[in-house]
């Protein structure tokens, strides 16, 4: 028995959906039409392929059907000749990367004139082809709220005339953070202790696409960072669903393919994501080189002197030098109040305090951290450490 047709359709659709939607938006300027035509092509494939067999070039077949649907719709709407003739002459093979419509689509969906929540929703719906109902569920809003959010974003693109274009020159560097913010939020949604892993997969797929479409060390850094964090997804919890620390995890359950891909693309530049990925790479090494991690955090702190970076730098020094050094650096990271009520700061202080020998103070700090932890899984992990310490 061969591969079931619906599996082939799903694979071809995932592969072609973004390309079809991106191209039809460029030619017609109509986002809803582009999505509808891609959807109809998929429905027709599910109807025809089981009887007629899967075509040699499933992506080309889907693109032809979608394009013809768009031509029909525009004819009915009596649209001007230029768009129709451009549609009719669309090449069915992938265009050269410099003009890839998928990149135009990503930058338009992630335009900073749209709110972050609108950017995330639009990227998932249009670039990833995720149904509005699924996006709504993941972001805890009703489907009608999500549909309104998507409609409003598309209306703004049309009414304010947000260009369908990849920014060039210095504008590209200004616009990339707006794309990164969307990818990072998506990844976190999947990576959080009680999150939905499918979103981390989707974030990785989108970042990989971005890395294919453009050459930028921060894109590579972000992809490497996601891959390294995600490589441990199967090992992050024990059989009862409790979160495990890096040291407690079974390394045999780490995803070696993801780690290999990450190490291959890891850039050695000083961008925030490239540096974070280099740090993550140290954590998957056979033996953790804390001196190197501390040095990388020094570099990161000069680019992004945020309270969380300063906290992690203190932790690194706590291992590279001594718990006392780490605790002193944590105290200065706390100046300004940026770490107030932040459970990871309390957990880090607890860990260093325990290693400095003050066991009972460490237990109390773990309990304080658990009280402000955002998810039940993290709460349990912190309380477990408090219990272990008090038993020793």
């Amino acid at each position: 028995m061969g591969t079931p047709v619906d599996v082939v359709v799903a694979a071809a659709s995932r592969e072609s959906h973004t390309r079809i939607v991106a191209t039809l938006i460029r030619v017609t300027g109509d986002w809803d039409l582009a999505e509808d035509c891609a959807q109809e092509a998929l429905a027709l494939a599910l109807e025809r392929w089981p009887a007629e067999g899967v075509p040699n070039n499933p992506g080309g077949w889907l693109m032809t059907v979608a394009r013809n649907r768009a031509i029909d719709a525009l004819r009915r709407a009596n649209l001007e000749r230029r768009k129709l003739s451009e549609l009719a002459s669309l090449p069915l093979d992938p265009p050269a990367p410099a003009h890839d419509d998928r990149l135009r689509l990503i930058f338009t969906c992630c335009h900073p004139a749209l709110s972050l929540e609108a950017r995330v929703a639009l990227t998932l719906r249009t670039v990833a082809g995720m149904p509005a109902a699924d996006i709504a569920r993941a972001f805890l809003v009703t489907e009608s709220t999500m549909t309104r959010r998507l409609t409003r974003a598309k209306d703004k693109i049309a009414q304010a005339r947000i260009p369908y274009r990849v920014p060039s020159g210095p504008a590209l560097n200004e616009r990339l953070p707006s794309v990164f913010a969307v990818l990072y939020l998506l990844f976190s949604r999947g990576y959080d202790a009680d999150g939905e892993p499918a979103f981390a997969d989707e974030a990785i797929r989108l970042t990989r696409l971005l890395a294919q479409l453009m050459s930028d060390s921060e894109v590579d850094g972000l992809l490497a960072l996601f891959l390294l964090q995600h490589s441990r997804r199967a090992a992050r919890r024990d059989a009862d669903g409790n979160l495990l620390t890096l040291a407690e995890q079974d390394r045999a359950r780490w995803d070696l393919d993801a780690i290999t891909e990450a190490l291959r693309i890891l850039p050695s530049t000083d961008g925030p994501y490239a540096l974070q990925a280099s740090i993550a790479a140290c954590h998957v090494a056979e033996k953790t080189d804390w001196t190197r991690i501390a040095a990388l955090y020094d570099r990161l702190a000069t680019v992004v002197p945020s309270p969380v970076v300063l906290l992690n730098r203190a932790v690194a020094y706590g291992y590279a030098q001594s718990p006392a050094t780490g605790l002193a650096m944590l105290e200065s990271a706390r100046v300004g109040g940026g770490l107030d009520g932040y459970p990871l700061a309390l957990a880090a202080e607890a860990d260093m305090t325990a290693r400095a020998g003050d066991r009972w103070r460490a237990v109390s700090l773990y309990e304080q951290a658990a009280a402000v932890a955002p998810s039940p899984a993290e709460q349990r992990a912190l309380l477990r450490r408090a219990t272990e310490l008090s038993r020793n």
Binding site: A113, Q159, A160, R161, I162, P163, P167, A171
Partner: protein, 109 residues
């Protein structure tokens, strides 16, 4: 594509005045490039008059229709290819630093 540029004050302006670009240069450049169709400063909203007609009766109010901390102190009408070009024009206006600028596209049929 026409954009209305509302030039507004802001409660947290840029504190380093040396960064603020020159407004006359901005007007000259954008007039020459045909991107600025018209524009002007407005007197403070304390001199505003709000006009309504209800049941055929003219109702006048002394002052603006809404009291806010941030007020519109000027406007410009831009002709730009798209929002990105309008943002480029707006970001070089002195009040993007000293205040804030709101870009509103004209309605199109």
């Amino acid at each position: 594509m026409k954009y209305m540029m509302f030039v507004c004050t802001d409660t947290e302006p840029e504190t380093d005045e040396s960064l603020v670009p020159d407004i006359d240069t901005w007007v000259d450049e954008n007039d020459k490039a045909g991107r600025r169709l018209t524009g002007n400063q407005l007197v403070p909203p304390s001199s505003a008059t709000t006009v309504r007609v209800r049941g055929g009766e003219l109702l006048l109010t002394d002052g603006p229709f809404a009291e806010t901390k941030e007020v519109i102190v000027g406007f410009d009408i831009l002709e730009c290819a798209d929002l990105d070009e309008a943002i480029e024009v707006a970001r070089n206006h002195s009040m993007a630093y000293a205040g804030r600028i709101e870009l509103r596209p004209f309605h199109q049929d």
